[in-house]
Amino acid sequence: MSQAKKEKPSFLGIINVARASEPESQNAGNTELQQTSITVDQNTSEPVLQNTGKPEMANLTIKVSKARRKHWGLEAKKDNTNLTQVIIESLIAKYGDAD
């Protein structure tokens, strides 16, 4: 009985796996790549690529005084939002969104 031919991973899938292994400082670069996870096929023990369809995420850290953080956090809460949302909206308003 012949076994079904195993699907070749796409070039982009392979590239995503390679990029995902880079330290964050190196891969926060040019293109917003699709996030790819690897699982192991239980029958063949071969790695299988799964494209989750989500963009790869990165941290954006800023240092501010505790007083400012507390004040802005409370004000954001009053507006029924959070600081992450406010910062993202401000950055998009100033510089536009990524392609």
Partner: protein, 202 residues
């Protein structure tokens, strides 16, 4: 990590030779994987003939996922005329695409076609004039100059035609490792190309 693709719409223009020698060059700088996407498996066969004495890992698309993580350089050798989806994926994910051409009109036309297709993407690409006949022929220089004048991004380095490349393929080693001092100049071509690429990707 730098990902470099060597591609084109025509076979026999030194795609695999370029992939093997760039992988050799970059293996002196860091962990390098050569992904042989060509169904002919030219680069893999080249490495296997030498009993895997290559200074890099040569794998096909199915094996690649196991090896690419943690690499410093990935060189992708595509089949001649990759399908348009593959080309778009590569254009999106690679740092540089290299389009080799021989200095003749039969090779030039397909190279210009792929350059036009890549021009519609945001790909970073350069043409490479390879298989250049020796002095006193000026075909290689002429083609390089004309591409530049025509606004096609092109490497300054050209790759000479030499019997050393088929010899190296037969021995299963890069031309750098052949015991023939006369072939050092051909390896120097790829060293110069490697330096140009490093400067481009800084």
């Amino acid at each position: 990590m730098k990902i470099i693709t060597v591609t084109g719409y025509k076979g026999g223009v030194a795609k695999s030779t370029t992939s093997v020698h760039l992988a050799t060059y970059f293996s002196e700088k860091g962990k390098t994987v050569l992904l042989d996407g060509d169904p002919n498996r030219t680069a893999i066969a080249w490495a296997e003939r030498g009993g895997q004495k290559m200074p890099f890992i040569a794998v096909d698309q199915r094996q690649a996922v196991k090896f690419v993580a943690g690499s410093d350089y990935i060189i992708i050798d595509t089949p001649a005329r990759p399908d348009s989806d593959d080309l778009k994926e590569l254009a999106k994910g690679c740092d540089l695409m290299i389009l080799p051409t021989a200095p003749d009109v039969l090779s030039l036309q397909p190279m210009l076609e792929i350059a036009r297709d890549l021009g519609e993407t945001k790909a970073n690409f350069r043409a490479l004039v390879a298989i250049v006949p020796p002095h006193p022929s000026t075909e290689g220089k002429q083609m390089r100059d004309e591409l530049e004048l025509g606004g096609v991004p092109v490497f300054k380095t050209t790759i000479r035609r030499t019997v050393g490349f088929p010899k190296a393929a037969l021995a299963g080693v890069p031309i750098r490792d052949l015991d023939d001092a006369r072939l050092r100049i051909a390896w120097a071509d790829y060293q110069n190309l490697g330096k140009e690429i490093e400067a481009l990707l800084k």
